[in-house]
């Protein structure tokens, strides 16, 4: 019999479970240098940020009244800022935020 160290395990045939709402094995929020910041009063719910984010990081909140950023995954590409129809989004330096994240160690 073989002993497989836990961190090296691979499922049979390399068939892995499909994610449901997010893929927590690839957190990307610690990539960004700049975080998009919303001024809600300027937002007219044009949906551009939601539609144009390659990482699906902007979503409508429960009430459908405001767009919310998924900070866990936002890579800070700033497409949303570029495409916002009403200039409601601007970029701010990530480490200026109290909860600003930065990747300190290599991911793998």
């Amino acid at each position: 019999m073989f002993i497989i160290p836990k961190e090296k395990e691979v499922p049979l045939g390399c068939v892995t479970p499909a994610p449901v709402t997010e893929q927590p094995m690839m957190i990307t929020g610690n990539w960004r240098e700049y975080r998009p910041v919303l001024e809600p009063e300027k937002c007219d719910l044009c949906m551009n940020c939601i539609v144009f984010c390659p990482d699906a990081c902007f979503q409508l909140d429960e009430a459908g009244e405001m767009v919310v950023l998924n900070e866990k995954y936002c890579k800070g590409c700033n497409i949303c800022i570029n495409e916002c129809a009403t200039d409601a989004l601007s970029k701010a330096y990530e480490l200026d935020f109290e909860d600003g994240v930065v990747r300190l160690e290599k991911p793998f």
Partner: protein, 326 residues
């Protein structure tokens, strides 16, 4: 022998606010910030919905999405070789036909979508793509075109534009423009000679509503369909990653990318500018063209002008002369 009947009818959407909210390509993938192919994948997955099987030939949309031991696809997905996306999809379709017929599976035939890069579509994957189109499999072949073999570190592919700097076409004193060849035209390859294909379209991340509608139309058509989606690559084309959608828009405005549908022999065009901007406007924003001279840009313009004159019809392309004569 009856064929499985497609009863699916995915409705078109009118406005950007009608874009379906459910995500089938979820956050948590290792694609570059601002990745054009990732954006189109998200939109395609939304358009297709849950009754879908994706095939991922090797490329950025495999490696970057699937590192390591995890993927962002909530629907079934399988890796294929870069050579055989069309062939594996054909096998899945054939299996579903017989399994549905025998009652071993129930419901509609799933959407079977090959998500291949330009190399996996018209270079190493050309044979398999063409055969899938020829054999009339009820499946969709999508070419996400970021105009190079980007996953391997940006090398030229048959859709890389003339004059692009890639690691296999670096500009130098002997070869000043870098890439000397003009690109293949993937939709034309399909339209030209596959009698079973009833619908071919181009799309772009610049126009998400149009993209979603074309995906749904292609999936609703019974038989093989082909979509060519422009997906700018900030890393490969060397532009600021915030500008991915902007660059895609400019490609259309300059004629470097043409938006059309071909259905049963008829062409329909979308987003045709009244007056095209010069290609220079598009090229100057991208580092891959930074080394080009006026003469090279003029060659690019001539190519685009000729292509625009007769939409979709193969254009007279200058054959690069032997180097000694230049």
């Amino acid at each position: 022998m009856t064929v499985a009947v497609r009863t699916q009818n995915l409705p078109p959407i009118k406005l950007i606010r009608n874009v379906p909210k459910e995500e089938y390509y979820v956050p948590g993938h290792r694609t570059c910030a601002g990745c054009g192919p990732a954006l189109q994948y998200k939109l395609v997955a939304k358009a297709a919905g849950p009754n879908t099987i994706f095939l991922g030939p090797t490329g950025c949309m495999y490696v970057a999405n699937a590192s390591y031991l995890c993927t962002p696809y909530t629907v079934p997905w399988m890796h294929t070789q870069i050579t055989n996306g069309g062939a594996v999809a054909s096998g899945i379709e054939a299996a579903y036909k017989v399994l549905l017929r025998k009652g071993k599976r129930t419901g509609e035939l799933p959407n079977i979508i090959v998500m291949a890069g330009d190399g996996g579509t018209v270079d190493i994957g050309l044979q398999a793509m063409s055969a899938m189109m020829y054999r009339a499999h009820d499946a969709l072949f999508i070419c996400y075109d970021n105009e190079a073999y980007t996953n391997t570190g940006i090398q030229t592919s048959p859709t890389t534009p003339y004059g692009a700097n890639t690691t296999f076409t670096p500009p130098g004193s002997a070869i000043p423009e870098g890439k000397t060849l003009f690109p293949k035209d993937p939709p034309q390859l399909v339209i030209g000679g596959h009698p079973a294909v009833k619908y071919v379209a181009t799309a772009s991340v610049a126009y998400p509503v149009d993209l979603i509608n074309k995906v749904r139309k292609a999936l609703n058509v019974q038989g093989p369909t082909f979509l060519h989606i422009h997906a700018p690559c900030p890393k490969g084309w060397k532009f600021d990653e915030a500008k991915t959608v902007e660059i895609a828009r400019l490609a259309i405005e300059t004629g470097m990318w043409n938006m059309y549908e071909w259905e049963n022999g008829e062409y329909r065009y979308q987003f045709k500018p009244k007056k095209y901007k010069p290609v220079r406007e598009y090229m100057k924003l991208q580092g891959r063209f930074a080394h080009l001279s006026e003469a090279h840009i003029a060659k690019q313009q001539a190519f685009v002008d000729a292509k625009l004159k007769a939409h979709g019809i193969p254009v007279e392309v200058p054959v690069p002369p032997p180097r000694a004569q230049q």
